[in-house]
């Protein structure tokens, strides 16, 4: 075992990249849950985004178009969930599970011709002299545009929820849909848009895994990241900046266990690979005592006749 092979600067740089898929998906889900909808289909939308983004990036040669396609794919799949829960008023837990099972199958079907191909690379942004700064340069200024987009997204979601009318209406719908309806807000329409936003974010998160993190396509490659993102929203008490913090924490754990595997620590690989899931459980236990932050109407079905 040789821990000195783990370079802390590279670890921190890789941590930001490892956190991005979780960050994107969790930010999307946060908006969905603030609108009062619990979409357990994040894993399904991510994996569909992963293959849509991968396939389109390979076909067009442009990773950016790939990411746009991934967002579109995730949003379209989430429309199915919106239809089930908002129009036919189906149970949200069951519908979310259905979305995940369906997304896993559909992505495997779409991805058949793409196994073993290398996607086009998305170049890192060139920050010029900023990247030369010791320590900070390689950690902060050496990444691809999507990573910065993720951080910007958190800021945008935070500002929108806190300072704008749209954010206020969204929160009203999530806290008490009957009151929001009585005020004349279109509950179903607002929720559907929120669900689509969540789908688009999850799709991009998935594509980040298949286009940048791995970069390759394999069936079921999201391996539970969507579920970790769901846990992260609870962890963050439905607050955007805490999502960022949580994502970096999980990214750090994921990256650290990968580095430990590489360093040949005496712990078997399988037990290291378990750690992100186990830590998610531990964090959930610690934080589940406080449920006061949850949106009031979370997971409840809305029908105007109630």
């Amino acid at each position: 075992m040789d821990l000195s092979v783990i370079n802390p600067i590279l670890l921190f740089a890789a941590l930001m990249s490892a956190a991005t898929p979780i960050l994107l998906a969790a930010t999307g889900e946060l908006v969905v849950e603030r609108a009062g909808v619990l979409n357990l289909g994040v894993e399904g939308m991510m994996i569909l985004g992963a293959i849509c983004g991968f396939a389109i990036a390979v076909e067009t040669g442009s990773p950016i178009i790939g990411f746009v396609a991934a967002a579109a794919g995730g949003a379209v799949l989430s429309l199915l969930f919106a239809f089930l829960t908002q129009i036919t008023l189906a149970n949200q837990v069951a519908s979310g599970l259905a979305l995940t099972l369906f997304g896993l199958g559909l992505s495997a079907l779409l991805g058949q011709g793409y196994v073993g191909i290398k996607p086009p690379r998305l170049p890192d942004i060139n920050f010029g002299f900023l990247a030369e700064i010791p320590v900070i340069g390689p950690v902060v200024f050496s990444h691809d545009p999507i990573l910065y987009f993720g951080i910007g997204l958190v800021a945008a979601v935070w500002a929108t929820l806190k300072y704008t009318r749209v954010g206020l209406v969204l929160r009203a719908v999530g806290e008490n849909h009957d009151a929001a309806h009585a005020l004349g807000y279109k509950v179903v329409r607002i929720r559907t848009l929120a669900i689509m936003f969540g789908g688009a974010c999850a799709g991009m998160g998935g594509a980040y895994i298949s286009l940048i993190r791995v970069p390759q396509w394999t069936e079921g490659m999201t391996a539970g990241v969507g579920w970790i993102a769901l846990a992260l929203v609870v962890f963050a008490s439905w607050k955007p900046w805490r999502v960022l913090l949580g994502a970096y924490l999980f990214g750090g754990i994921t990256q650290l266990q990968l580095n430990l595997q590489g360093a040949g620590v005496a712990i078997p690989v399988e037990y290291l690979a378990m750690s992100p899931y186990l830590i998610t459980i531990v964090v959930l236990v610690i934080l589940s005592a406080d449920k006061s932050a949850a949106p009031g109407s979370l997971g409840r079905t809305f029908h105007a006749s109630h």
């Binding site: 036919t88 008023l89 099972l101 079907l109 399988e270 899931y277 006749s305």
Partner: protein, 360 residues
């Protein structure tokens, strides 16, 4: 303008009709999917649903119906109890793996001695493994209020890693020339879950599934605990007044579903699968969720739904080898079924009203 109007009471007719309609809709859209993949839709559907039952080789495929259906029914029965009460165990796949590992480990510990008591001991160990794995989310939910959906699901990934570690390490066949995977339990008479009547597909897992169905039916229809399950799902507040202890119910529902999933894993690994290997599990724990919903969370419905799902697995295999239909297409097909079921379920609780909309 079409509006939805809540029915005063859920429609009985629609609650029976929806699964049938969902299957028909899935046939139709599944056919479109197969056509989009360049296969003849009618031939594909017939290959999946007709060939295994009445085709030339049905004598081979019919027993498979029991072999594939038994674990699905066994797991789904357990899940349905929780789902009825609003307790969501979606980590059955993990409990299934742990049941198989505990059971196979218990049997292999005695290798190569032969004794009739080894198999019953394995059954107990398998049930215990599944139960134990499900008690983790149950305990955390009762003690700390942790979300059981996320915890039970996280534990699936933990169980998969554990399975990999076991089949490459502790349980690896010492005479296996370094290949991953345990000894073949089919070649170890005391631990083999053999067919009770040769060639019928009837193994001990099928017997266990039938017992579970009867047990669940009696429980829900006649027992106080079944009443507690139903009333908690339909009216949680009323349940409190009726003296239902929610914590005990959580422990019971998660524990029972884990136990049954563990049994399913043990019967699979000691019978049809034969050995512990990295990928002996094929997602029964997740498909069972579809089975539970398709069967309307009712024991008899689950038997029918389990057989139908088993049929899609068997027919899917045939279509894969004969028509080159990708395995993932069957997965999509199964997912579609759940979608249509959930969507059409609207008609059980609501009815459509046509006419001009009026300000309420």
């Amino acid at each position: 303008m079409i509006a939805l109007e809540k029915r005063p009471e859920p429609s009985r007719a629609f609650s029976y009709l929806t699964p049938v309609l969902a299957v028909i809709a899935t046939f139709f859209f599944g056919g479109l999917l197969f056509a989009a993949l360049g296969k003849d839709p009618v031939t594909s559907i017939l290959t999946i649903f007709w060939e295994p039952l009445f085709g030339e080789f049905s004598f081979y495929y019919r027993p498979q119906l029991l072999i594939k259906g038994a674990p699905l029914v066994l797991i789904a029965i357990g899940l349905s109890l929780g789902f009825k009460a609003g307790i969501w165990n979606i980590g059955a796949e993990g409990q299934y793996i742990m049941g198989a590992l505990f059971g196979a480990g218990a049997g292999l510990a005695f290798y190569p001695s032969e004794n009739v008591l080894i198999f019953p001991f394995m059954v107990l160990a398998g049930a215990f493994g599944g139960w134990l794995w499900a008690m983790i989310p149950a305990f955390l939910k009762v003690k700390f209020g942790t979300n059981e959906i996320l915890v039970s699901l996280m534990l699936v990934y933990v169980a998969e890693q554990f399975l990999a570690s076991m089949s490459l390490g502790l349980l690896k066949n010492p005479e296996g020339f370094g290949f991953p995977g345990s000894r073949n339990l089919q070649q170890y008479a005391s631990a083999h879950n053999a067919e009770i009547i040769a060639g019928s597909g009837m193994h001990w897992g099928v017997v266990a599934a039938l017992i579970a169905v009867i047990f669940a039916y009696v429980l829900l229809a006649r027992h106080r605990l079944g009443f507690a399950v139903r009333v908690t799902g339909e009216a949680p507040r009323a349940a409190r007044f009726a003296g239902v202890n929610p914590n005990r119910l959580i422990l019971f529902c998660l524990g029972t579903s884990g136990l049954l999933a563990g049994l399913a894993g043990l019967f699979e690994v000691s019978g049809p699968a034969g050995q512990v290997s990295i990928d002996f599990n094929v997602g029964y724990g997740f498909t069972a969720i579809i089975v539970a919903f398709l069967g309307r969370l009712h024991p008899i419905g689950i038997v029918l739904a389990g057989l139908l799902m088993a049929l899609t697995y068997i027919g899917g295999d045939i279509a894969q080898s004969q028509l080159g239909l990708p395995a993932a297409a069957i997965q999509v097909f199964q997912g579609m079924l759940l979608f249509f079921l959930l969507a059409l379920d609207m008609f059980t609780n609501y009815r459509l009203r046509f006419g001009r909309s009026e300000a309420a």
